[in-house]
């Protein structure tokens, strides 16, 4: 963990959390209905609350990293086992993101290239972005944010301006049954704030990290809602349901008169999703490597990160097999809920309790 203890300012924390939650654009794959956002938004809200709990735990306890926090909240061996499980969980998440993105690239950009090759390319890029540590990773996502966020905002705004608002009425009449069904998919799309366990403790000031954590999740929620509305307004609710990649298909329909630099406006959208997916996979890869190296008490995080690459690659390839894919989905759901419903609250309560005990003594 060469430079993982260097404090981070507002922007890196914001960018990391925003990319970790996928900006609401990565992983939205076909078969969804507009009600999807009613499942995604509570999940984002839950993540935002969980982040505040985590922040409280870090601040009250004065912990510098996840290992210290988990050791204080659980026993030392317990913390090591938890970290190992977290490492595996993040490897699964990274594989899931990469698999989903390689399918998207294969569908739109490289029809004749085998997905395994595209997957390898994306994984190597994610590894390159993450292996040197948190400083480099946060730098990458911060710089990417300057490019990605304005581009995405332009797409969303243009799409919203050009869409048919009459179509949006469908969104206001959600079917309760479908909202429940959408939760698993929404989890894959918007979860990721749990990765903050590995960087939130390093934020420069309490004010900075608090704002960054809340704003990032809020930004993801706004972008997801806006893009969903824009998609429904552009290609209709049935289009969103039928298309494999509804957001990209919606972007394909957009055109700014006079600025026809590309025949299809889906190219900027593909650029955005690619950048965000690589950034997101890199964050999960980093978290996995940090967790596993902390579990084994080694400082060689870069080596662990390198060792994880074939494992993640194998997982991502295996995700193509439907039974393995289902297992991976389950691991992702269980891991997510365990982290935000168990680890974060326990850590927060323990740190408050420890803080009070210290005060009393």
């Amino acid at each position: 963990m060469n430079n993982t203890r260097e404090p981070l300012g507002f922007l890196p924390v914001f960018a990391l959390a925003l990319f970790a939650t996928g900006m609401g654009v990565t992983g939205v794959v076909g078969g969804i209905r507009p009600e999807f956002i009613y499942a995604a938004l509570p999940l984002l809200l839950a993540q935002s609350l969980a982040l505040l709990l985590l922040l409280l735990a870090f601040r009250r306890g004065g912990y510098g990293d996840a290992f210290e926090l988990l050791c204080a909240s659980f026993s030392r061996p317990g913390a090591r086992i938890l970290l190992l499980l977290l490492g595996v969980y993040f490897a699964f998440r990274s594989a899931e993101i990469l698999r989903s993105q390689s399918d998207c690239v294969s569908f739109y950009l490289l029809e004749s290239t085998p997905p395994a090759v595209i997957l390898a390319m994306l994984l190597i890029t994610a590894f390159f972005a993450a292996f040197k540590g948190l400083r480099q990773l946060s730098g990458n996502v911060s710089l990417l944010l300057f490019f990605v966020l304005p581009l995405f905002v332009v797409i969303v705004v243009v799409a919203l301006v050009r869409c048919d608002f009459g179509e949006l009425r469908v969104v206001l009449q959600p079917s309760a049954d479908y909202v429940g069904e959408s939760v698993p998919h929404a989890l894959a799309v918007v979860s990721g704030a749990e990765s903050a366990l590995f960087f939130l403790g390093l934020s420069k000031t309490k004010k900075d990290s608090g704002r960054a954590a809340v704003f990032s999740v809020a930004a993801s929620a706004v972008l997801l809602t806006a893009m969903m509305l824009a998609s429904v307004g552009t290609i209709g609710a049935s289009g969103v349901c039928l298309e494999r990649y509804p957001f990209i298909e919606a972007a394909r329909q957009i055109n700014i008169g006079g600025i026809a630099l590309t025949e299809r406006f889906d190219m900027p959208m593909l650029v955005v999703t690619l950048f965000v997916s690589i950034g997101r996979a890199a964050i999960f890869l980093f978290c996995g490597a940090t967790a596993i190296s902390a579990a084994f008490g080694t400082e060689k995080r870069s080596v662990v990160c390198l060792a994880m690459v074939p494992f993640v690659y194998a997982l991502a390839l295996a995700a193509g097999i439907s039974s393995v894919g289902r297992v991976m989905d389950r691991v992702a759901y269980i891991g997510f809920f365990v982290i935000i419903l168990l680890i974060f609250p326990v850590a927060a309560i323990t740190s408050i309790f420890n803080g009070k005990k210290e005060k009393a003594s």
Binding site: L110, Q136, G139, T262, R264
Partner: protein
């Protein structure tokens, strides 16, 4: 006479030969110097007798010491000294200073050090029965006169550039910063070259930790010969395997002075007109001196243009390959038709086509640097127009590609730092290969790798990507927009200067 294979001088830093004293000391000193001189024809050793009958000899290098001064001041004055003083004593350097009229004089008890000083242009003087040697500063090395920089100066701004002479360069800086706090510390690097180095900084402005870091790094360099600051630059870089330059440099004294006032450190190497500036950031490499001299509005426009050009220079050829080879459907219909018509008779794939043209340009560029100046211009015409035109006529490359590669090459010339532009040329090939293999997806992966390479760099405690990362609201904007002169009140905070205030508005 020493054998050809035997070294006559131990160059290890611990070696020291004190001035011989006692009986026969003068002869031993003289024979030591003669042994070191060996067969060298440029080293002059002249011995003579003072009027008080004491023997004296001098050591100097022909062409490096001012012969007139040596003859007039040393030999004649030393004779006068002995006769005028009336005493058969030659006691202290103060006396020497008075009698010889030398402004720069030093004493040494080390004969080996004195000899090395003589090899750098000073004059070593040894007098019988004196326990010390005297070194007179009579350096006079022929060098280029101060003129325009060959790397290109500015339309608005001074037109003088550094030369290969350390003292001329320090004088150029001192003329611009007449602050008593401005320090030019003298160091020496090179076991054999004994190259003089000037470490420049401003006390009370430059961060002390930065100065100490640079100084200790310079002192730790153990190399035999430093020929140019480019060599030293590579030894100072914290990430030697990175393709990006980790030091900045300039040939313009006004830029060096301005950067010193921004809180950076300058390293001047004797024999090199290129002054190193530390630490470096990407935004600093994209800055030119004219930004400060022009009106803020136009300077801002040019700054933004420069950033756009730097991206175009790297991305344009790979974007062309990605679009033409993989995603022609993404091009507007008219452009697609034009591209298809243009490429109709081209026998190569777009990647090979781009690669051939880029490599041809690299060859042309390299050849024009190595060619004699008067042939260079003709070569450009032959290479650029005749070969280019012939290649299009022969159907080897498409005219559209000429436009893409031409624009990309011209955009590359807009990057102010030659080292950065060279690094970007390498990045361009990386992106080209990725785009040829994976189209737009490969290009995007390449951009992430490019960013990763940039964000992983940090030199002397300053992030390469500052002020974008770590983000500074005020300075990030200034990387792209030039504020009016009265708004440029502070120095860049990422250099952590001691004195932050640059400009104060006077009270009305």
């Amino acid at each position: 006479m020493p054998e050809q294979n035997d070294a006559v001088f131990d160059i290890s830093p611990d070696y020291d030969q004190p001035v011989f004293t006692g009986d026969g000391a003068f002869e031993r000193n003289l024979s030591y110097c003669r042994r070191l001189k060996g067969n060298s024809s440029d080293i002059l050793i002249r011995s003579f007798v003072l009027s008080d009958s004491r023997k004296c000899f001098i050591v100097c290098v022909d062409g490096m010491s001012d012969k007139d001064s040596v003859e007039r001041c040393v030999i004649l004055a030393s004779r006068r000294f002995a006769s005028d003083s009336g005493e058969n004593k030659f006691i202290a350097s103060d006396g020497v200073l008075q009698q010889f009229g030398v402004t720069e004089i030093s004493e040494t008890e080390s004969l080996s050090d004195g000899y090395i000083s003589a090899l750098t242009g000073d004059v070593l003087v040894l007098i019988e029965n004196e326990p010390k040697a005297f070194i007179f500063g009579y350096r006079s090395i022929e060098s280029r006169s101060i003129g325009d920089s060959p790397l290109g100066g500015s339309v608005r701004g001074p037109h003088e550039a550094f030369t290969e002479n350390l003292r001329s360069n320090t004088a150029l800086l001192r003329r611009r910063i007449s602050d008593p706090n401005f320090v030019i510390e003298g160091l020496e690097i090179g076991r054999r070259s004994h190259t003089s180095i000037g470490l420049c900084y401003i006390l009370g402005l430059t961060n002390g930790e930065l100065v100490n870091n640079v100084k200790s790094l310079l002192e730790s360099i153990d190399i035999d010969i430093v020929s140019d600051s480019g060599e030293l630059e590579q030894l100072l870089e914290p990430s030697p395997y990175s393709i990006f330059p980790q030091t900045d440099g300039t040939e313009l004294p006004d830029v060096a002075a301005s950067e010193l006032c921004a809180g950076r450190v300058a390293v001047i190497v004797n024999g090199s007109p290129y002054v190193l500036l530390l630490p470096v950031t990407l935004s600093r490499l994209m800055k030119v001196s004219e930004d400060d001299y022009q009106r803020w509005s136009f300077a801002s426009f040019v700054k933004v243009l420069r950033w756009i050009c730097s991206v175009i220079s790297v991305i344009a050829p790979s974007l062309y390959v990605a679009m033409v080879s993989f995603h022609p459907g993404m091009l507007p219909t008219d452009l697609l038709i034009l591209t298809v018509i243009n490429r109709l008779n081209v026998p190569f794939s777009s990647f090979i086509e781009v690669l051939l043209l880029e490599l041809a340009l690299e060859v042309l560029r390299e050849a024009s640097i190595r060619m004699p100046k008067n042939i260079g211009a003709s070569l450009s015409i032959v290479g650029g127009i005749i070969i280019g035109d012939a290649a299009i006529s022969a159907g080897l490359i498409s005219p559209l590609l000429i436009v893409v590669v031409g624009v990309s090459t011209m955009a590359g010339f807009v990057i102010p730092s030659y080292s950065l532009a060279s690094s970007y040329r390498l990045v361009k090939y990386l992106l080209l290969i990725l785009a040829a293999a994976f189209g737009l997806a490969g290009l995007i992966c390449g951009v992430v790798i490019w960013l990763s390479m940039l964000t992983s760099l940090r030199a002397f405690g300053v992030e390469y990507t500052a002020p974008l990362f770590p983000f500074s609201k005020k300075w990030a904007l200034r990387g792209f927009i030039q504020p009016p002169a009265d708004k440029r009140a502070s120095r860049p905070e990422y250099f952590d200067p001691v004195d932050v205030v640059r400009y104060r508005k006077g009270d009305d």
